[in-house]
Structure formats: structure tokens, C-alpha cells
């Protein structure tokens, strides 16, 4: 009977369907994975690592890395999202111990009402603690607080060959430094101890300052660093060498009287499917940027805003990454040493001329505190982040021409955002990556790592 044959077809194992699709936030590249482990309990990790073949698995969190650093094409992932338990909290010191799959949104939900906030947060609250450590993420307070890794006091790491390794600045300090910013390659993080930060409440004293050139941005930034804990700028990347933008700066407010709705910002509208890619073209984006600039320039000056609209404006539209269409997008985030500000101008000029820029141009001055990890991205200088919808070869060509500027200026690219940098640029960005290699867990590998170390693979293996 025909229904029977359909049934036998249905029962055939379909690994890709079983697990659903695991993509990165940029939805590019479209990797397929052979298998996804979904441990629900910490005690299941050792068996997964033990049974896996060499170089076959990679821990995965909320998939907010933009490129391929959270992907492992053709191999397996360990989805850590079910490992999301709070293990302990010290009310007097604000030290939180939790499993690696706990999200920042979760931490805020539980601890902000008690007067504690994340020490460092990226532009989305939908990242896991494990992912924040593996990418040593930074935030708007980098000039004051450094990276997230600087606030990790200790962590437990499942290693395939030597079990649970506890590491921190004193205990196994080298493994600790390798794991912070280690792109998930050193093992599966079981738990971490993070120092939270005291705040009075969920409110922020925010201030908007419009600027019309890079030098004004630098002046505003320098002037703000001393007075504001959080600084960042949005940039209209269609304006070329003299970019206009909005400088956002703020501090936690002492305001405690006003109440915040529960679930504020977590139940916003959701983009249900990938928008057609013609919708985003240079004219619509240009018009959007102009409108965005005018709307914010009109609101300049101080105001009291909630933490989520200050830190996570994009989280209010769930799945905003679908905006860029089916083919996905690439984010380009570089850091340029401050002595070479001209390089930023050159980058912006090339982007403006290409007409391919997008509405998410972000500029921030990093502080000088050294990052905690061996492969941490933040370093003194200006960091610029831009989105580009994937439009095939011409997008890649533009990004290669930007690479040239970054490399010549002595800058670096951010692995968490990358899906395409060359091994040469990786080498230039992280000249000491070879000293990281011995700390990689033999069972773990990633698409990103294979790509950027491919040229030196033999060399890496021999170490």
C-alpha cells in the first residue's frame, strides 16, 4: 500500500530534521551539522566528550555569534541551552555561580530586581554566559570595565582528556586565559563564577549627542569617558568621510521609585520570516538612516530610560536578523589603533562609495585595560561594526578591500562576527594564536577555526 511505503520513508533516520537547523545570527554560512547533542544535565557532558571522535564537536549557546565561530559544518554541536541553572549567589558580594547555558536575560530577570546587574553586556541579552566567556564579549562600558572575562572569577571546564578542570586567575591560569575568548575550543564550560555589579534599579540616565564628523566623535568620546560609564555611537555609514551619527552615553540611575513592567522588552514583535532581499537597497537604507539621525538628533539631551531600551534596543524586535533576507548578512567589526584614525575614514569612504552599507553602524572607543583572554579581540583603539546583507561576490569583494585597510593600519577583526576573514588577516589580528593551540581540547573544533588556521594546519598540529 502506498501509505505503507510513505511510512517506511518517514521512519528513515533524518539527522538534519531531528535537530532542527543550527545557524549563526548572520544566517551565513548555511552550515549543516551531522548531529546535535542536547544535554540537559551537567553529568552528561563527560560521556559526550568521551564518545566523540577527535575534532568533532563544538559547544553552542544561543547562536548569537554572527559568522561561523559557533558552527561546526559537517560535524557535531553540543547545544548547551538546557544547562541553565543558577548554582549559587552571594548576596553580600554579588558573586553568581551558574551553569554555562544561563542567558544574560535570565540573569537580569532574577537579579536586577535584587539590585544587581551584569558587569559587562553586549548589545543583546540573548547570549549565554558560556558564549560571553568564549567570545570575551565587550559592551558600552569597555573603557571602564574591560571585557566580560575580567569579571569571571573562576570557571569549571569539562575537558575530554582530563575531566572537570577548575581554572581562574590563580588556579590553572593559562587554561583560564585560553578559555576566555577561546571560542569554545578549550572545552565545554560547566559553570562560571561571575562578579555582578550593584545598581539602584532598572533605570538609566541617558544622553544623546549628535555629531557630524569623526573628530567631533573623538572629542565627545574623550570628554564622555570620565563622566559616563557607558558610551557608544551610531553611525550613518552613507555619509562617507565625515560621518554623522548619534553619540549615546549614560550611567545607571539612582531612581528607584518608578516601576518597570515585568517582562519588559521580552515579548516584542517578531519578524516571522526572511524579508525579500530587494527591500533593503541603498535608497531605503539611506532614507532610514537619515530619518533615524533626525529623529534622534531632535531628542538630544538627557533623559531617563529603562535598561532594556538603553542596552538592548534591537532585542525589541525578535529575529531582526531575518531583515536581511534569506541569504543572511555579514557583520564586519574591526578595531583600528587610535593613531590611525585616518583608516576609519578610509573604511567609511569605501563603504559609502560601494553603496552597500546598512543601518547598523556602530562606533566605540575601547579602553586601555588589557583583555583577559589569549584570543580576546578588544584592544586600545576605535572599534567599528557594520552590517552587510549577503549579495554574493560583490559583498565579499568590498569586505576584502576593507580587510586591506584594517591590516595596513595594524588593526584586527572580531572572530565572533566573522565568516570570511583570510588566515593571513587572522594571523595579523592575533599574532600569538599559536600559543593558544596547546589548550584546544582534542575533541573540539569549529568551522571558524578550521578556516582561519587552514593555511597553518600542519604547523598547528605539530605543536
Amino acid at each position: 500500500m502506498s501509505s505503507q511505503s510513505a511510512a517506511s520513508l518517514q521512519r528513515k533516520p533524518a539527522p538534519a530534521l531531528r535537530t532542527g537547523r543550527y545557524l549563526s545570527w548572520g544566517r551565513y554560512p548555511k552550515a549543516e551539522h551531522s548531529h546535535v547533542y542536547k544535554p540537559a544535565w551537567d553529568d552528561q557532558i563527560p560521556a559526550i566528550l568521551k564518545s566523540a571522535p577527535d575534532g568533532s564537536v563544538l559547544p553552542y549557546g544561543l547562536g548569537r555569534s554572527y559568522g561561523d565561530s559557533c558552527l561546526n559544518a559537517g560535524r557535531a554541536l553540543v547545544d548547551c541551552r538546557r544547562l541553565n541553572r543558577i548554582l549559587a549567589f552571594d548576596e553580600s558580594t554579588g558573586v553568581l555561580r551558574c551553569e554555562s547555558g544561563v542567558s544574560f536575560a535570565d540573569i537580569i530577570d532574577v537579579f536586577l530586581p535584587q539590585g544587581w546587574f551584569l558587569p559587562v553586556t553586549p548589545g543583546t541579552q540573548f547570549v549565554t554566559v558560556g558564549g560571553a566567556i568564549a567570545n570575551d564579549v565587550h559592551g558600552k562600558n569597555h573603557h571602564r570595565a574591560g571585557t566580560f572575562g575580567a569579571h569571571v572569577r573562576q570557571l569549571g571546564l569539562h575537558r575530554s582528556n582530563d575531566g572537570l578542570v577548575v581554572c581562574g586567575p590563580e588556579e590553572n591560569p593559562q587554561m583560564f586565559r585560553a578559555t576566555i575568548g577561546g571560542l569554545g575550543l578549550t572545552g565545554v564550560i560547566a559553570w562560571a563564577e561571575v562578579q555582578l555589579r550593584r545598581v539602584a534599579g532598572p533605570w538609566m540616565n541617558a544622553e544623546l549627542v549628535p555629531f557630524q564628523s569623526l573628530s567631533t566623535f573623538l572629542d565627545v568620546s574623550r570628554e564622555s569617558d570620565g563622566r559616563f560609564e557607558y558610551t557608544v555611537a551610531w553611525l550613518d555609514c552613507f555619509a562617507g568621510k565625515n560621518p554623522r551619527g548619534i553619540f549615546f552615553r549614560g550611567n545607571h540611575s539612582a531612581e528607584t521609585g518608578k516601576k518597570l513592567r515585568p517582562n519588559h522588552g521580552k515579548t516584542g514583535p517578531k519578524l516571522p520570516f526572511a524579508l525579500p532581499s530587494w527591500l533593503l537597497n541603498r535608497y531605503t537604507v539611506k532614507a532610514f538612516n537619515a530619518a533615524y539621525y533626525r529623529a534622534h538628533a531632535a531628542r538630544k539631551g538627557p533623559s531617563l530610560v529603562s535598561y532594556d531600551s538603553f542596552f538592548y534596543p534591537l532585542d525589541s524586535v525578535r529575529q531582526w536578523n531575518l531583515l536581511y533576507g534569506k541569504r543572511g548578512f555579514l557583520q564586519y567589526q574591526c578595531v583600528i589603533p587610535e593613531a590611525n584614525v585616518a583608516a576609519i575614514e578610509e573604511l567609511l569612504d569605501r563603504i559609502a562609495r560601494s553603496g552597500m552599507g546598512s543601518f547598523l553602524g556602530v562606533l566605540k572607543q575601547f579602553g586601555s585595560a588589557p583583555s583577559a583572554g589569549m584570543l580576546s579581540f578588544p584592544r586600545p583603539g576605535l572599534t567599528l561594526a557594520l552590517d552587510f546583507a549577503v549579495r554574493g561576490e560583490r559583498t565579499l569583494q568590498l569586505l576584502r578591500s576593507l580587510d586591506q585597510v584594517v591590516q595596513e593600519s595594524g588593526g584586527a577583526l572580531y572572530p565572533a562576527k566573522d565568516a570570511r576573514m583570510s588566515p593571513a588577516l587572522f594571523e595579523a589580528s592575533f599574532p600569538r594564536w599559536r600559543s593558544f593551540v596547546p589548550y584546544i581540547d582534542p575533541k573540539i573544533s569549529s568551522s571558524f577555526w578550521r578556516r582561519v588556521t587552514w593555511a597553518n594546519q600542519n604547523e598547528a598540529q605539530s605543536q
Binding site: S3, A14, R18, W41, R85, A88, T256
Partner: protein, 267 residues
């Protein structure tokens, strides 16, 4: 370093949550995928919980997590509920250290590969034992207690798979179906005593139990299913809860397919 757990209630948020009638909940099978989500939502409401499951390590992780999330009290008891000889002792422990509990939620179950239970009687019996025999045994102890106290709520997670025997899943289905029938009877028996009995029938849910099934990625989100369950426990509205709700209509349709046709269907 010694760490303490914080149980201070959320004060910075205005909250719309009402005082719920259930304050003390016993969860049998506390480490199951759905139970884990239900417990989180109960913790946020400041409930007191007694968790029963096999693994002491997993219970310890749950305990600290739920306390941090607002549970007023969390007790744990590591017992394998499949071993009926331990039930009496467990029941005694619950009555002694968690007096006045008002809700019992049975949330454990097992799902073997159907093919294995067709070829191995041991697997078949294990499936029936865990999902039905042991479950009805432990529920009997709690039912008698609630009946005597003339209060509370008894809830158990069965499955839509128990509504009709299907080729691909009838062993699990018959065990869960038997449990549904059992609950139906208990409901009628406890009705005069004012004890609510809720049969929870989830559709397929994304939990460790179903990860191996085809199309698992399309199954319901456990958080959403847990929301439905907590709402049902709180308001005590339905006798039989289908979650997600669409399954009530799907199963009504499935039950009305004539056997002559149904036996030819392969799902």
C-alpha cells in the same frame, strides 16, 4: 567560599500576579523536561516545592536554581519511583517533612523505541511499569491522603498518545492511556471530597525524552506547555488539559476516524 541562596522576592517590578491557591507542591519526576519548566514558573510565584527524582546531583542543581528564582522552600528526595517498594517510605517522608502540601504533580515517564518493545517483552513491561503501574501506585497513596484531608489537587502528565493506539507508538500510548483512565476514575472518586484531579495531555514536546524522534525540532516549546500546566493548577479549571490547546481538536478528529480507515494509517 561559602555561598548563600537568596530568596528575597522581586520588589522593583510592579507585578500583576495573583496570590495562587497552590503554595506547596510535590513534584514526582522533578528532573523530567516538562517538570523542570513547571518548577521554574512555580518558583517565580514563590511556591514551596518538594522534588522527587532519581539523581541527587540533578536534584541539588534544581534546588539551588529554584531557590535563586524565588521558591520559598525546596526539599528534595532522591528515589527511583519505578521501585514501588520505596513508595511507602517516600510518602511517609513527604507527609512528615512537607505537611499540608496542596498539590501533587506526577511528571515522569519513559519512552523507549517502539520497535524495541515490539521485539522485547522486557522493554514492553518496563514501559508499562514505569508509565502506568508505578505511576498509579504512587498516585493511590497521595489520592487517599488528599481525600482524607478533603483538599488539594492531584495532577499527572499523560499524553495525547494515550487517546488512540497508533502503529508507531502504541506501547507508550497504551501505558499513558491506562493512566488517563485511572485518573478519570480517581477524579470521580475524589470529587465528593472536593479534590481536583487534572489529566494533563501534552502533544509532542521538545524534551530530552523526545529528542531522538523525527521532527523533534517542530515539537512544542516546554516553556509554553509548562505555562498551560501552571495556569491549570492555579485556576483548577479543566479536568483534562490538552497542551498546546490545538491537540484537543486534533485528538477529537483522530478519535472519530473509523477503525476501518485508522488501521491503515501509518502515523
Amino acid at each position: 567560599m561559602t555561598m548563600t541562596l537568596n530568596t528575597r522576592p522581586a520588589t522593583l517590578y510592579s507585578s500583576a500576579s495573583r496570590v495562587s491557591p497552590m503554595r506547596k507542591i510535590v513534584v514526582l519526576g522533578a528532573t523530567s523536561g516538562i517538570a523542570v519548566e513547571v518548577q521554574r514558573q512555580l518558583a517565580q510565584r514563590g511556591c514551596e516545592l518538594l522534588l522527587v527524582a532519581r539523581s541527587p546531583e540533578r536534584l541539588a542543581a534544581l534546588e539551588s536554581d529554584l531557590l535563586a528564582r524565588g521558591a520559598k522552600q525546596v526539599l528534595t528526595c532522591a528515589v527511583d519511583l519505578a521501585l514501588i517498594q520505596h513508595h511507602a517510605k517516600l510518602f511517609e517522608y513527604v507527609c512528615h517533612s512537607f505537611p499540608g502540601f496542596d498539590t501533587v504533580l506526577l511528571a515522569y515517564g519513559s519512552m523507549h523505541d517502539q520497535k524495541d518493545s515490539e521485539t522485547s517483552v522486557d522493554v514492553l513491561l518496563d514501559e508499562l511499569h514505569v508509565n502506568f503501574v508505578s505511576a498509579s501506585a504512587i498516585l493511590t497513596l497521595f489520592a487517599a491522603d488528599l481525600e482524607q484531608r478533603r483538599t488539594g489537587c492531584l495532577a499527572a502528565i499523560t499524553s495525547v498518545a494515550g487517546d488512540r493506539g497508533r502503529r508507531s507508538n502504541y506501547v507508550y500510548g497504551s501505558a499513558k492511556g491506562a493512566l488517563s483512565l485511572f485518573l478519570q476514575g480517581v477524579r470521580s472518586r475524589l470529587h465528593p471530597a472536593g479534590v481536583k484531579v487534572i489529566t494533563i495531555k501534552p502533544g509532542p514536546v521538545q524534551t530530552p525524552m523526545t529528542d531522538h524522534l523525527p521532527n523533534a525540532a517542530r515539537f512544542a516549546d516546554p516553556e509554553r506547555v509548562a505555562r498551560d500546566i501552571v495556569r491549570a493548577l492555579e485556576r483548577r479549571a479543566p479536568d483534562v488539559l490538552y497542551t498546546p490547546k490545538i491537540w484537543r481538536y486534533v485528538m477529537t478528529a483522530v478519535e472519530h476516524i473509523p477503525e476501518k480507515i485508522f488501521k491503515r494509517l501509518s502515523f
